[in-house]
Subunit: 297 residues, 2 copies
């Protein structure tokens, strides 16, 4: 990424981080409540790439909107994403002890606190948009419809459910794998792009176009994730490599082979690039799209 | 309860039950997704008294609104209530195997499915109000602000967190116990009354009055629950009696003694009755309020 875009991205991520912390402001009344709020912050702070909130802000900006119009939607999406990671890491789900190189939320704070921190983050996601004084009720409802749709049983949560169905099976078809990823990973990324346009009051056709970009990017993102699981090192990833294969999980790599998976990620990224070029001042997002294909973690 | 009110209540509950089932309509794509949807329905169907949705419908009606205006809000509140029961029964929380005389959701469907059914119900609660074609965006936002506030870290979830803090302590003051109950049990009941008025476009002062009624009713409701835990039988309650005392939990009964708890529940119920009498056509709700004080389960 060129220096200017890199600095821009760092500045955007810093703004998102700051806003996320500012929005979690319940005054704790008991020791345990303080712990849950600390757990919410701990998981939000763990960072990651902040791709989803960045997409919200970028699509709003590219549609001619002000960044401030999109900030609560950006934070809401990151809260939903973080809630999903917390619950996904729990023993009854993926049972992961580490997340982004740090102990998972339930390892750090215990299972009950992690469960409740997830529940509270999901609720807070809706809350921040509902209490954003810069948004009209029309825009709040339009944003939250997208948020609820991409989060719920037909979106991300539905995808997590399908994922668990497939986890112990090696006979999952490519079509079924794509449907699962489209829901589990794709839905929130698609939602981010659409919510950014919605915050800027873009027309339906633009929102739909952004959704198509998100669909392609989300799929490419997951394929690259699957590739990194077999080609990267634990030090770089911040989590064990080869864990998918060990668990006998179907991934794009086990299904297509490494080379075909790489080719497929490239094709999807190029399709996403074509879409993004239809938007005004797309320089940063175009470079980010390419960067995500060649990322090392 | 007199025959007419009894028949009216049964009819209202039947309408709520029917609408709740109609609203869960994700077409399952995998066996596991079908299970999660079945788990959502299983827990919603388990019934209970449907007090919260009844309160939404009643306050809307008493404020001169149409029942149809309040139906999605009523269902949303029952979904949030059901989500909270599912997660509360999980081993990391209260670890209850039975709920309303049937196996708890996680005993019936497994822990992962129960976790996800809860998450999906919480999301669906927002979704049903956001997609209700009878409501204006203004009303949707006003309803969901109340819903998010009474559900989140400062409301019900915050109350559950405080409850776990207090569970193993017998030095909890009456004041702290009241604050916990006001959040854990009171918040959704208060929210129900306020959402009913909001659906009918009642003025702020009326919404606040309904909130005060809900506060008193919620507190009385929990005190009666605590009394029944020591005076009822497992057959009647559908769950083990004496479980609070066994766990060394602080309740209104352990804190105040049985007689003072009874007196306190009566005082609160009378205060709630006084408020409800300020609303038009309050006959049914007045009787329901009295009935909840003398209920046997």
């Amino acid at each position: 990424m060129d220096k200017r875009n890199e600095a821009y991205m760092a500045a955007q991520v810093a703004k998102i981080d700051q806003q996320l912390m500012a929005l979690i402001r319940v005054t704790p009344r008991t020791k345990r409540q303080a712990q849950v709020i600390e757990a919410m912050r701990y998981s939000l702070e763990a960072g990651g790439k902040r791709i989803r909130p960045l997409l919200v802000l970028e699509f709003c900006r590219m549609c001619g909107g002000e960044e401030t119009q999109a900030m609560s939607a950006a934070c809401a999406l990151e809260m939903v994403h973080t809630f999903s990671l917390i619950h996904d890491d729990l023993p009854e789900m993926d049972n992961d002890d580490y997340r982004r190189g740090r102990p998972a939320c339930h390892k750090q704070f215990g299972h009950a606190v992690a469960l409740q921190a997830g529940d509270a983050l999901l609720t807070a996601a809706f809350e921040v948009v509902l209490h954003d004084p810069l948004l009209s009720p029309q825009t709040q409802v339009a944003l939250l419809r997208i948020l609820a749709d991409v989060t719920g049983a037909a979106g991300m949560i539905g995808g997590q459910i399908m994922d668990m169905d497939y986890e112990t099976r090696n006979d999952v078809t490519l079509e079924a794998l794509e449907a699962m990823v489209s829901a589990k990973t794709g839905a929130l990324i698609r939602g981010a792009c659409m919510m950014g346009c919605t915050a800027a009051h873009a027309p339906e056709s633009t929102i739909a176009l952004a959704g198509q970009y998100g669909e392609k990017l989300g799929m490419a993102f997951q394929i690259v994730d699957d590739i990194l699981d077999v080609t990267s090192s634990s030090d770089v990833l911040g989590k064990p490599v080869g864990s998918d294969a060990e668990e006998g999980k179907t991934t794009f790599v086990t299904r297509m082979g490494l080379e075909s998976a790489r080719a497929q990620a490239t094709v999807l990224t190029q399709a996403a690039e074509k879409i993004v070029q239809q938007f005004a001042s797309h320089d940063f997002l175009l470079e980010l799209t390419r960067e995500l294909l060649v990322r090392e973690k």
